[in-house]
């Protein structure tokens, strides 16, 4: 079809493109600031990282091409990576959907309340996400000392005799990270959901009632959820990226490196190689894998969300 158009106007493909660009130059100008920033700080680094992952690069000397050896090492030799992968997936599966559902549940409940109480509760839920490193308070709660809150409580009530090394005992470390991550991650999706619930057209419900919606569940499934799909999508993407990229929480709480790598995630593994071991090629290979995992997860979630309301 293109070809015929080109032929009929007597312009080459390139000329036509240029003409089109000129025609809508204002759109391009408006697009430019974001596009430039996005390319320099996101797209180019991603491709650079992809390139570096095929090289040996110690940060202080020039990179050297080594083919697939980083990837071979990653999958065949690196036992710690497998641990990190396992931990990350556990964290993603547990905290991702759970906090997604929880966030929605809370948003739905709170949305029913009066405006004043609603804004207050919204603040309470959103506070952990905006308060930066406030999750460090969990360090006191889960301190391995007898004076740590959790230990003191359990000892006082006679559940345990000796303090549990919450942050240094591999049996408990994942539990602690999951709890803290759940507490932290409610905020962003929650806020999006609240906004989504607010934006649902009230008249839809009336129409729904006339069309035979009989209970709140049906209302939720057939009206509320479909009309807030963009927010659901946003929440899901945020949730996936944050839960797959958990690192700071693990590092701050259980230490870096954590005991027996029990709190090791893909990102801490990446940091380990990138900064402690000065092996950026290898770290880039890890990053590439992480990138692929995130892409897959996103596609998957899109598929699932498409089914909402059907």
């Amino acid at each position: 079809m293109n070809r015929t158009t080109v032929g009929s106007t007597g312009l080459t493909k390139r000329q036509l493109l240029w003409k089109n660009i000129k025609k809508s130059k204002h759109s391009y100008i408006l697009l430019a600031p974001y596009a430039i920033l996005f390319f320099t700080f996101t797209v180019i680094p991603v491709f650079m990282s992809l390139g570096i992952s095929f090289s040996y690069f110690n940060l202080l000397e020039a990179p050297r091409f080594v083919g697939l050896s980083n990837y071979i090492k990653l999958f065949l030799e690196d036992e710690v990576f497998i641990i990190a992968l396992k931990n990350t997936l556990i964290l993603a599966v547990v905290t991702g959907p759970v906090s997604y559902l929880l966030a929605f549940l809370f948003a739905w409940l709170i949305n029913e309340l009066g405006p004043k109480l609603r804004s207050f509760l919204t603040l309470i839920f959103y506070a952990p996400s905006i308060s930066g490193n406030a999750f460090l308070m969990w360090l006191i709660i889960f301190s391995g000392d007898v004076h740590g809150y959790a230990n003191a409580f359990l000892i006082n009530w006679g559940f345990i005799d000796n303090p549990i090394q919450w942050l240094k005992d591999p049996d408990y470390m994942m539990l602690v990270i999951i709890i803290v991550q759940l507490w932290l991650s409610l905020g962003v999706s929650f806020l999006a959901f609240i906004a989504g619930l607010q934006s649902v057209d009230r008249s839809m419900y009336e129409a729904g009632a006339i069309d035979g919606i009989r209970n709140r569940w049906q209302e939720l499934w057939h009206i509320t959820l479909p009309s807030m799909k963009p927010q659901l999508m946003f929440g899901a993407v945020m949730q996936i990226t944050t839960s797959l990229a958990i690192a700071e929480v693990s590092m701050q709480l259980v230490g870096f490196p954590s005991v027996e790598y029990a709190g090791h995630t893909i990102v801490t593994h990446l940091i380990d190689f990138g900064t402690v071991r000065y092996d950026l090629g290898y770290a880039s290979a890890i990053a590439t894998i992480l990138f692929l995992i995130m892409m897959t997860a996103n596609l998957l979630v899109r598929q699932i969300l498409r089914k909402v309301g059907n």
Binding site: F256, V259, V276
Partner: protein, 968 residues
């Protein structure tokens, strides 16, 4: 919409009305006497229910007779006995026949006293240069220390500005260095902690008495000791009567800027920059102006500042000061005020400054009238000395309560342990004598302290809040003594908060802007700016932040130099400022090398080096960084320099070990701290225990400690947060070295933990936690304070923390060498191997550096004894004793203000320190040693097998890294 306009309009009108009123009217009616307190002539001995009551008991021991006789002078050179390196000098600094006594000297004098009774002692001394710390002596009268406070009498050194205040190239004021400006002066023997706010009175019987001074710290040059009769000061009414005939001057107003002090007792008393008020003189919205003195640095009892001023005509003057006292919330702070080295009248003793958030001008006086001081024409001095005033006795009482409560806590601990069973009745009332009565006594004493505090400062504050909590809990204990054990944890933390109370009460900060010596009728300036002018000042300051470069530290002058090196450091701003000053004073002028100093975050170094914008020299780096950079050819090998070997002798060999890689040395050490064993002398004495000499002793000591439910601390450093390398556990390393272990064997290709006695040592170390249940994680300093953990091994700089932040156990703890292992010396005998390990920081030259010789000059200058000592002292000057600098330079260490006995112990331990080498892949050693330990501790696995497994992992990493760097 109209509504909004109306509201806006009325706000604007109100604002202008307020501003105008503020500028013209309210400021005109300022009461300069508003903040004065009624003089309170209470005698603190009435409250004498406390530890320092030792002194008051002493006062009651003999007849309370205070003979009023002529001063008896004892010349120092006519001593009767002398031990140590003392020297009689014909003349020194203009005074004839003086005696220089050594740090560890004992000198005895004989004195004939006609009338038996109590006398004050005065020392005429010269603060002979030493290590710049306070001079301390113990006093023996007739062969014994009369009371507790006489164990260390402190004589002050005299400090002054080295230069007047100058400006750097940007026009900012530069803080002048504080240097010793010694001269002959005299001082009463008094209580250096300030709880007793009058000079000590010593009892002499008639006939021959002996006075002995025993050195504790620093050398001291003595001219004479005087026995003076104890005198009481006259009150103001008498003073007024005395000068009634003198005329009151007119039309006089003289400013004395407080930042231009003549001399002071401490290097921390340097000029400060205040920007909180536009009226502070001098001031500038955009530049740093040093305009006040004191503040938080001037809070320790006994510290004084002296100012000199001129008076044009003789007569009666008023004195006013512009001060701010907002740091001690809800408290008064006290100063003794001396005119020409004498307190003119009683009211000038413990003169109170009440709490207020703003600057104020306060005229010395009481609430109704201002005091008039008689000053003759000419030069005078005014001296203000921190005193604890009414708080002295209170603090003493709190101290006693802490001691008693801590003792009680430990007695309860014997039966319950630190985590008592909630549902068990320990029958504490039957087991501990007078439990309830003792708690009752403490409760009453704390309640009376609370009353006193409220009385003094007129209101409740967070200080009384601490007391309230404790009293509430003690009430609970008295009501239900059978449930004491359920609240043991909070009881313990309440006791430590009483320790905080002691710190809070003994801090007496006061900031002074200027003095005014003026006639009674003088028109005093306003103490606070009007609303408009202070708003304008703040706006100017705000906009000047856009033009000021805070990251680079400005140089002071232009020198004709051809070379500039860039130095990055990742330490605090205070440290950086001191370094900048030292460079400008003693490096650039001599070497003609400019230094571009930049304060950066340490994580920036790697990316910066990568992109070729890195520095020439990097400072303040962890010990593992140099070798890691060296493997990747980013750092320069310092052993290439001709005089490297000579420079390396400045440090212990152990300090250089981590910087060695394949025969080259890639950094110089800056700091080195190593392990020492801290223990509570009072508790050990009480239990009849001795600090352990060997690890066998430690094991033998454990049952004795655990019998009383006390704990032993062995540190397990953990990584938390920021990315860092976990160094091999210091205690394991200590044990491993003592048993002849080697960290890396076969040419650094494998880890040596599994060889020789390694597995055995690992098993022994893990047993401390598995079999003897040592706490794996604990806050050592706090448990040490409460006595729950009366002994522990940790890095020696914990000394600083303890000496500053744990006043309630002052003098009740000590440090000694770490326990050793008995080793065969090959001749049938044995000796104790005290080997231990250290941590520290380093400085290195980057490979990209163009002028390596210049960078090397800088490194040599920085690690030299002179610079390190000056840096250490300046740091201590700015931040106080908490910042004592753990230099790696051996000679510099001897010049830092440690006492003789502390220094000799530190040196002995330091000689034993062994370095841990850094090898490719070495970051795995500490990590997997910790993993092995955790596995044994958490899962009760076999220690030796676990170690073998993890050594394999470590070896694998070393091997792969060696392959990467082509070392095999």
């Amino acid at each position: 919409m109209k509504k909004i306009y109306i509201v806006l309009l009325s706000i604007t009108v109100l604002f202008f009305a307020y501003a105008t009123l503020d500028a013209f009217w309210w400021s005109g009616i300022e009461d300069y006497l508003e903040f004065n307190e009624e003089y309170d002539d209470s005698d603190s001995s009435e409250l004498a229910y406390f530890d320092i009551s030792d002194y008051y008991t002493y006062l009651e021991e003999y007849d309370a007779f205070y003979p009023q006789v002529d001063t008896i002078t004892i010349d120092a050179i006519h001593y009767s006995e002398s031990v140590g390196d003392n020297e009689v000098m014909d003349s020194y600094a203009g005074v004839d026949d003086v005696l220089l006594t050594d740090e560890s000297s004992e000198v005895t004098w004989q004195v004939e006293v006609d009338q038996a009774g109590y006398y004050n002692l005065v020392l005429n001394y010269y603060p002979y240069s030493g290590k710049s710390s306070g001079i301390e002596r113990a006093v023996y009268i007739n062969g014994e220390i009369p009371f507790e406070g006489a164990e260390n009498i402190t004589f002050y050194r005299i400090w002054g500005n080295e230069t007047s205040i100058t400006q750097d190239v940007n026009g900012n004021d530069i803080r002048p260095s504080q240097i010793e400006t010694p001269f002959w002066n005299s001082m009463y023997f008094n209580d250096h902690v300030g709880y007793i706010d009058e000079p000590f009175a010593f009892y002499f019987h008639s006939g021959t008495n002996t006075i002995q001074l025993v050195g504790v710290r620093e050398p001291l040059m003595i001219k004479s000791i005087e026995l003076q009769s104890v005198e009481t000061l006259m009150d103001y009414d008498t003073y007024e009567q005395m000068y009634q005939s003198e005329s009151v001057v007119e039309d006089q107003l003289e400013f004395i800027q407080a930042e231009e002090q003549s001399y002071s007792s401490s290097p921390t008393l340097y000029p400060l920059a205040d920007r909180t008020s536009v009226k502070t003189m001098p001031n500038s919205a955009s530049l740093v102006r040093l305009n006040t003195i004191g503040g938080n640095n001037w809070r320790v009892s006994g510290d004084f500042i002296v100012w000199t001023f001129q008076v044009e005509e003789s007569g009666l003057y008023s004195i006013s000061l512009r001060v701010k006292q907002r740091l001690a919330t809800g408290m008064n702070v006290y100063r003794n005020i001396y005119i020409d080295d004498e307190i003119p009248f009683q009211e000038m003793e413990n003169y109170a400054f009440v709490y207020d958030t703003n600057w104020r001008i306060q005229t010395l006086g009481n609430e109704e009238e201002e005091y008039l001081f008689y000053l003759t024409e000419g030069t005078h001095t005014i001296k203000m000395e921190v005193s604890l005033g009414d708080y002295g006795a209170v603090i003493g009482q709190v101290q006693t309560s802490i001691n008693n409560l801590n003792k009680l806590y430990r007695e309860i601990l014997v039966y319950t342990g630190p985590e008592p069973d909630q549902y068990r009745d320990y029958q504490l009332t039957e087991r501990i004598d007078n439990l309830v009565e003792r708690i009752q006594a403490e409760r009453d004493s704390l309640a009376s302290i609370r009353e006193t505090l409220i009385e003094i400062s007129g209101s409740k504050s967070e200080k009384t809040g601490i007391l309230d909590t404790v009293i509430l809990q003690l009430d609970d204990f008295i009501d239900k003594p059978r449930e004491i054990h359920t609240q043991l944890l909070t009881f313990n933390s309440n006791i430590s908060s009483l320790g905080t109370l002691v710190l809070l009460l003994s801090a007496q900060p006061l900031e002074i802007d200027y003095f005014l010596v003026h006639s009674q009728d003088a028109n005093l300036p306003q103490s606070n700016a009007s609303f408009v002018s202070s708003l304008w000042f703040k706006i100017c300051s705000f906009f000047s932040t856009f033009t000021t470069d805070y990251s680079s530290l400005g140089a002071t002058g232009d020198y004709e130099t051809d070379t500039t090196i860039e130095v990055w450091l990742s330490i605090g701003r205070d440290q950086a400022n001191v370094l900048r000053k030292l460079i400008d004073e003693s490096f650039t002028p001599i070497s003609k090398i400019q230094v571009d100093l930049k304060l950066v975050n340490s994580s920036v170094l790697l990316p910066a080096t990568l992109s070729n914008v890195g520095p020439d020299v990097a400072m303040g780096l962890g010990n593992s960084i140099p070798v890691n950079y060296a493997m990747r050819n980013a750092v320069y090998d310092l052993s290439q320099f001709e005089d490297f070997d000579e420079v390396a002798t400045r440090f212990m060999e152990s300090a250089m070990v981590p910087f060695e890689y394949e025969g080259g040395y890639y950094a110089l050490p800056e700091q080195q701290t190593f392990l020492m064993m801290f223990y509570r002398t009072d508790i050990f004495e009480e239990l009849g225990l001795e600090p352990p000499q060997t690890w066998d002793d430690v094991i033998a000591l454990i049952p004795d400690l655990q019998k009383h439910n006390l704990e032993f601390y062995l540190p397990i450093p953990i990584t938390q947060g920021s990315v860092m390398n976990l160094a091999p556990n210091p205690i394991f390393s200590t044990l491993f070295y003592q048993n002849g272990g080697t960290f890396y064997t076969d040419g650094n290709t494998r880890c040596g933990f599994d060889q020789g006695s390694g597995p055995e040592v690992f098993e022994m170390w893990t047993q401390f936690y598995t079999d003897y249940s040592f706490p794996v994680q604990a806050d050592f300093v706090n448990r040490f304070r409460s006595g729950q953990m009366p002994i522990g091994i940790t890095y020696y700089n914990v000394y600083n923390t303890l000496s500053v932040f744990a006043p309630e156990i002052r003098g009740k703890w000590d440090f000694v060498l770490v326990p050793g292992t008995e080793v065969d010396d090959g001749n049938g005998g044995t000796y104790i191997d005290r080997s231990t390990v250290s941590s520290g920081t380093s400085t290195m030259i980057m490979n990209d550096c163009e002028d390596k010789e210049a960078a090397w000059e800088f490194l040599k200058w920085w690690t030299s004894t002179e610079t390190q000592v000056r840096f250490g002292r300046e740091m201590e000057g700015i931040l106080g004793a908490a910042a004592r600098y753990p230099t790696a330079n051996v000679e510099a260490m001897s010049q830092l203000p440690w006492t003789v006995s502390e220094y000799s112990k530190l040196m002995e331990q330091w000689e034993w320190v062994k370095g841990i080498p850094e090898v490719p892949g070495g970051y795995m050693t500490g990590r997997h040693l910790d993993n092995a330990f955790r596995m044994v501790y958490n899962d009760n696995t076999n220690a030796r097998e676990t170690l073998y497994d993890y050594v394999q992992v470590i070896n694998a990493e070393i091997e792969s890294k060696r392959r990467e760097f082509g070392l095999d």
